[in-house]
């Protein structure tokens, strides 16, 4: 077979195996090596909730997809060019994601009678059964080659088997002409206390690489040149890390220490983990006894003058509902991060969805409007978190930040910003007041925000709480006071619209179809709209970061399009929200509730069907 090096702009690779096979690490290392090489990348980890589901079964299959390109990459790719499957179950679960032209690399050692049966195949020929005979299938004896490679390494049999993912990584590095250095460096750093393990992993990586070069079974190798990214210093970042760092950045800009009270919950946990590392930046984290304590400790910290945040996912947000009302009525700054996952109830915890929008907007007793902001990409979580904190502090109110599992775990290269380029955050902290005693709910004219009088300040002693109060802080159940305070608090949230940026449009300001989206679907919607525009279609995209309140020019934008289609990963929550606020438009819908992101084709089909 003639070996060819193919120059390509974009390649999608999907690593799949048992949840104990180390596929997340393999994918991450491949993505990092590609990012450092200069490609644009987008990643999508797709794993089960179980840490180690029964070996060899479909329920235990863990996947990691990465899209690498020499030009702009906005999504992890719909279908893959290369599928790596470490066992029959992984192949069975993922064959549907392989393009008709795909190369599929399989660990031949796992395709024995037992493995094939365990994966649920009905025949002894998985390839025929899946009807993928026309794909380029490479059976590599990965397990036995790894054993052979490391037989003199000094590692025991179990430890040797754990290295087979790195052997596979070596094969992929050959296929895609990746440099080995960054991964060698990673291995040496990770196992610096265990040089034997480090040495074994590096050997197996190189052996995999050389094996791929020797066997001639691999028809082509790919060259993906570095992408022409904007000049600057870059790093790879995932959504949860970016969220944590955005909050830390807001703490620095405001000069107010960060406090995070949280309870571990998938897929939000790593925000708490990331913040727990940052005592060096004066951040205090408290792993609470439950979700309610997470928000209540944060409310207490906000009262005492910290920049307070609580992080959670859907079910945790449900538990926090009552306390959200408390934060709202006491008019304290608080950021609530909801990393959405598949619901209702426990749902599908490790899968992505946008189904908490209604809960974020309405999930409280009484008249309780809370500002809602959404992040649209892994790195955008940084800005979204920063501005959530800025508005919470400056407007003295809770702000809900919605991200998604897809953003939380996904990563992309990020041009590192300078803190010089971020605005100041000015907290309305006072040390004295004109009136005695101090009126806690007196408001400023611009924002309708109250002042922040911190415990410890002489002369400003006051009481806040969940009972309705008059502006002077006295408890009141007077009907007119209640109605006025309800209106004042709502007006304060609505007033945020004067401070957020206008909604932007990708594409022309008028046309046949306006695609409307919000949150983590941005990459897919962007890719779809660009493709439609290239085809000459008059389609534009309005992707909303500011959900409540909406940007002031929303209606004006909608007016200029013949049709509007709202695309979201739920049954139509944003569409229904728009129907209540901007009733004169007709909203088409494109929805998906499968715990999976859109594929670009979903959007193209939906838009084409109404064009």
């Amino acid at each position: 077979m003639q070996h060819k090096v193919i120059d390509t702009k974009e390649v999608v690779i999907r690593f799949t195996g048992d949840s104990g096979d180390g596929m997340q690490l393999t994918g991450t290392l491949f993505a990092d090596a590609s990012a450092l090489y200069g490609n644009d990348i987008s990643t999508f980890p797709d794993f089960p909730a179980e840490i180690r589901a029964p070996q060899g079964t479909v329920s235990g299959v863990s996947g990691f997809q990465v899209n690498i390109g020499s030009s702009e990459i906005r999504t992890p790719g719909d279908f893959c060019d290369v599928l790596v499957a470490m066992n029959p179950a992984a192949l069975r679960a993922n064959a549907k994601w392989a393009k008709p032209t795909a190369t599929i690399i399989l660990d031949a050692d796992t395709f024995d009678e037992k493995g094939i049966k365990k994966a649920g195949f009905k025949t002894d020929d998985p390839i025929a059964e899946l009807k993928i005979e026309d794909r380029h299938i490479i059976f590599c004896p990965i397990t036995s080659l790894t054993k052979e490679s490391l037989k003199d390494s000094g590692l025991d049999a179990k430890a040797i088997l754990r290295c087979k993912n790195i052997f596979t990584l070596g094969i992929c590095y050959y296929m895609f002409n990746r440099p080995l250095e960054t991964t060698e460096e990673y291995i040496n750093n990770k196992f610096y206390k265990k040089p034997v393990v480090a040495e074994a992993n590096i050997k197996v990586l190189k052996d995999g690489y050389n094996y791929a070069g020797n066997i001639h079974a691999i028809p082509n190798t790919y060259r993906i040149n570095p992408a022409k990214l904007e000049k600057g210093l870059y790093r790879n970042i995932n959504g949860n890390q970016a969220t944590a760092w955005g909050l830390l950045a807001a703490s620095e800009k405001s000069g107010i220490p960060l406090f995070c009270g949280s309870y571990p919950i998938t897929p939000a946990t790593s925000i708490l983990e990331e913040l727990a590392l940052r005592k060096d930046l004066n951040c205090k984290t408290l792993q609470c006894e439950d979700e309610i304590s997470g928000i209540c400790t944060s409310i207490g910290a906000a009262y005492a003058g910290n920049l307070a945040v609580t992080t959670t996912s859907g079910p945790g947000l449900s538990l926090k509902s009552e306390a959200l009302g408390l934060a709202m009525i006491t008019e304290l700054p608080l950021v609530i991060v909801d990393v959405q996952r598949g619901g209702p109830s426990t749902g599908i915890p490790t899968k992505t969805e946008q189904t908490d929008l209604n809960q974020a907007l309405y999930g409280r007793n009484g008249e309780c409007p809370i500002a809602v902001i959404a992040a649209h990409s892994p790195s955008h979580c940084f800005d979204a978190a920063f501005y959530s904190a800025k508005y919470a502090v400056e407007h003295m109110m809770p702000v809900m930040l919605l991200t998604e599992g897809f953003l939380a775990n996904g990563s992309e290269p990020w041009r590192i910003p300078s803190m010089r380029d971020y605005p100041e955050i000015k907290a309305p902290v006072i040390t004295e007041s004109e009136e005695t005693p101090f009126w806690p709910f007196k408001r400023d004219a611009d924002r309708l925000a109250r002042r922040w009088a911190l415990p410890g300040t002489p002369g400003l002693e006051h009481r806040v709480g969940g009972l309705e109060k008059n502006n002077d802080g006295s408890v009141s159940s007077d009907p007119h006071v209640h109605e006025r305070m309800v209106a004042e608090r709502a007006a304060k949230v609505a007033k945020l619209a004067d401070f957020i940026p206008d909604q932007k449009i990708i594409g022309d300001e008028n046309g046949d179809v306006l695609i409307v989206g919000w949150g983590g679907t941005y990459g897919h919607l962007y890719t779809a709209v660009k493709q439609l525009q290239e085809e000459g279609k008059k389609v534009s995209l309005a992707h909303f970061d500011y959900i409540f309140p909406l940007p002031k020019n929303t209606e004006e934008i909608f007016t200029n399009f013949k049709k509007i289609i709202v695309c979201e990963l739920n049954s139509g929550q944003f569409a229904n929200y728009l129907r209540t606020l901007h009733q004169k438009f007709h909203y088409h819908q494109c929805n998906k509730v499968q715990g999976q992101p859109f594929i670009v084709k979903d959007i193209l089909d939906a838009v084409n069907s109404i064009l």
């Binding site: 990092d32 450092l36 200069g38 960054t182 990214l229 000049k231 600057g232 210093l233 870059y234 790093r235 760092w245 830390l248 620095e252 220490p257 406090f259 009270g261 005592k279 060096d280 930046l281 004066n282 205090k284 408290l286 006894e289 439950d290 309610i292 304590s293 209540c296 400790t297 944060s298 409310i299 207490g300 910290a301 906000a302 009262y303 005492a304 003058g305 307070a308 009552e322 306390a323 009302g325 408390l326 041009r415 590192i416 910003p417 300078s418 803190m419 911190l454 415990p455 410890g456 300040t457 400003l460 002693e461 006051h462 009481r463 806040v464 709480g465 969940g466 009972l467 006295s474 408890v475």
Partner: protein
């Protein structure tokens, strides 16, 4: 700064029922405040009173200090956040048996487990008052209430036992009518570093009147309660003629002078003993078998949560390579696009 109790009274009208035991506790706390300020060199603006929901949880409105009236059961969590955010504040939680031990039980035990430096005043009237008379987690077994018309079939909590179970460092008990003792244990709880729980036996004149009267009535109180003092022998009784001894592995009440018992045979109270064994027996003592223990039953030294957090922050800031956001953003693997 010299304060008087008047300095701690807010301008809000006190709205508890006439005859409610809460009035007496409010007065005792307001009297304790000037003494606490003097002894610990505190100023008034450092006090924060945090509460949940229930009659007792209206307390913060009546104190002219910083105050936070929270939601049902969550006062321990809110107070924890206040204290961790600013350890210079002196944080007081006011709660009831329903608020702290039913809906807020989880937060209560975890605050104690962490030994966060807050003072918890637990008003125990063995009833839900504000919702008008349902049984609480401390209601006596068999008690008839609106939600237990046939009598409760639930065993009550002993709050002190929960404190010990959570490895608490401070537990004291007083009665609403014991104004001086209440004032004294409030001062001692303020002096304690760590979670200090004071259980107040309090009368609900409307829904559970005389629930503590077996031990709180003036004419029998001295004979049915014992006020424990660290380092002193356990003597009680109107005539100071009764005492407590350890008989085998149980506490027993004896009469001094009878059966050859002298003062030197009595148990000497050691509140600072880390082993909770004796403290547990003292907390469990109940009328009619034994006198109810009052005063500071347990006060052991341990490092507080907020101190540990503060130390970690100081240490991290001293030794980390990361001092600001720009350094954090540029840490780890990065690459330059030219």
């Amino acid at each position: 700064m010299i304060y008087t109790p008047q300095d701690f009274k807010s301008n809000q009208e006190v709205k508890w029922c006439p005859g409610c035991g809460d009035h007496a506790i409010l007065a005792s706390v307001q009297r304790a405040m000037p003494e606490i300020c003097e002894k610990l060199n505190y100023t008034k603006e450092r006090f924060v009173f945090v509460s949940g929901i229930g009659c007792s949880s209206r307390f913060p409105y009546y104190m002219n200090t910083y105050g936070f009236h929270g939601i049902h059961g969550r006062a321990s969590a809110i107070a924890t956040g206040v204290k961790v955010a600013n350890p210079n504040l002196t944080v007081w939680q006011v709660t009831g048996d329903g608020d702290a031990l039913a809906i807020g039980g989880n937060h209560f035990i975890h605050a104690i487990r962490r030994n966060i430096d807050i003072n918890i005043i637990l008003f125990n009237n063995q009833i839900y008052g504000l919702t008008k008379g349902q049984y609480s987690p401390t209601s006596k077994l068999g008690m008839q209430t609106k939600t237990s018309p046939y009598g409760t079939v639930e065993h009550p909590f002993n709050p002190g036992a929960l404190v010990l179970g959570a490895r608490g460092t401070f537990f004291a008990r007083s009665i609403d009518v014991e104004l001086k003792l209440t004032q004294d244990v409030m001062v001692k709880s303020a002096q304690h570093d760590g979670t200090a729980v004071v259980e107040m036996l309090v009368n609900c004149v409307i829904y559970n009147d005389r629930t503590h009267s077996d031990v709180s009535d003036k004419d029998v109180r001295a004979d049915r309660t014992i006020i424990l003092e660290h380092g002193k022998p356990m003597i009680y009784g109107k005539n100071r003629d009764k005492g407590l001894i350890l008989d085998g592995n149980k506490i027993k009440s004896v009469v001094i002078g009878e059966n050859g018992i002298s003062e030197s045979d009595l148990l000497v109270h050691d509140a600072q003993e880390e082993n909770p064994g004796i403290h547990s027996m003292l907390i469990d003592m109940a009328y009619p078998q034994l006198p109810v223990a009052l005063g500071v039953i347990r006060a052991v030294k341990d490092k507080t949560y907020d101190d540990n957090v503060r130390d970690q922050v100081i240490d991290a800031r001293e030794h980390s390579q990361i001092h600001c956001m720009d350094e954090l953003l540029r840490s780890g693997a990065t690459w330059e696009v030219k």
